[in-house]
Amino acid sequence: MTEATRECALYEPLLSGALDNELTQQQQQLLQQHLQRCEYCSAKLAQLEQQSAALRAAQQTMPEPTMPHLQTTTTPVWQWLGWLLMLVGLLVIGGWAAYQYVQDASLPIWLKLAVGAVYLGLTVLFIGVAWQRKQQAKTDRYKKVQL
């Protein structure tokens, strides 16, 4: 390579830009004019081109990264339907039983209240556990991907 002239440093970024096709038309013209006069920069451009091609070629030979095995976790529709039917049935039966129970005049009021409290407590506990589970599932970021 011949010696660099003092103005060559100014053209260094443009050489890079030319390689990447990112020069404005004006910049292109400036660079072309310099390249016609300057052997040093012309040779350098060729060298940089080669270097860039070598990197890109090397990239192609790198192995494809091993990817996590994707697993779908969407619940099928029939499962939702099953749960829904069961819930509706339970509500109807439970409602009817509760109504009969309240109407039954042979039982003292304190027993009715006590039994009601037991059922209410069970329901609260059940909902509490379900809610906790749901929160856990939300924060577990690895649930959806098997690594």
Binding site: S16, E22, Q51, A54, L55, E64, M67, V145
Partner: protein, 166 residues
């Protein structure tokens, strides 16, 4: 029927190799790079802020880059990137690469290999590089020029070393 996850995976798939090279270059370790890529993929699958198709590449590379930098900071307990680039142990562990060009790349200081990986191994435009690195677009060209010059010198040095060994 395609799940959201499968759709996103298809969009990301062409950029995975480049993204892994980026992480590898930053972390200088293949297995941490793989972990980093997997983490980035998981957040890509679950995020609500997934970008439109044209911006997927820049977005994903940015996620991978930030994650790598976080890991580096944790590892080195450093707060600034400049401090990382001055650490010789980070800079001077070449990856096992068959190509001289990649070997030379891995010997470059962090700040220079970063921009080169985005341009040469991920084919990012200057606008994309500016977005990913969060720098003004006008500075991308000169950064790349400096990095390329550094790579050129590093390659010459490697070749000289090989000749000396022969």
């Amino acid at each position: 029927m395609q799940t959201l996850q499968q759709q996103r995976y298809q969009l990301l798939q062409p950029h995975l190799r480049g993204a892994q090279l980026l992480a590898q270059q930053l972390l200088q370790c293949q297995s941490s790079a793989e972990d980093c890529l997997h983490d980035a993929l998981i957040s890509a699958f679950t995020t609500k802020g997934f970008p439109e198709t044209a911006k997927v590449k820049a977005w994903f590379l940015q996620v991978v880059r930030f994650r790598s930098l976080d890991l580096l900071r944790q590892r080195k307990k450093l707060t600034t990137l400049d401090a990382i680039s001055t650490l010789e142990e980070v800079v001077n562990t070449p990856l096992p690469a068959e190509s001289n060009a990649l070997k030379a790349l891995s010997l470059l200081p962090f700040a220079q290999s970063d921009v080169l990986v985005l341009r040469e191994l991920n084919d990012c435009s200057y606008a994309e590089i500016a977005t990913i690195m969060q720098i003004p677009q006008g500075t991308v060209m000169s950064r790349l020029a400096r990095a390329r010059e550094a790579l050129r010198l590093q390659l010459q040095q490697l070749e000289r070393g090989e000749q000396a060994n022969d």
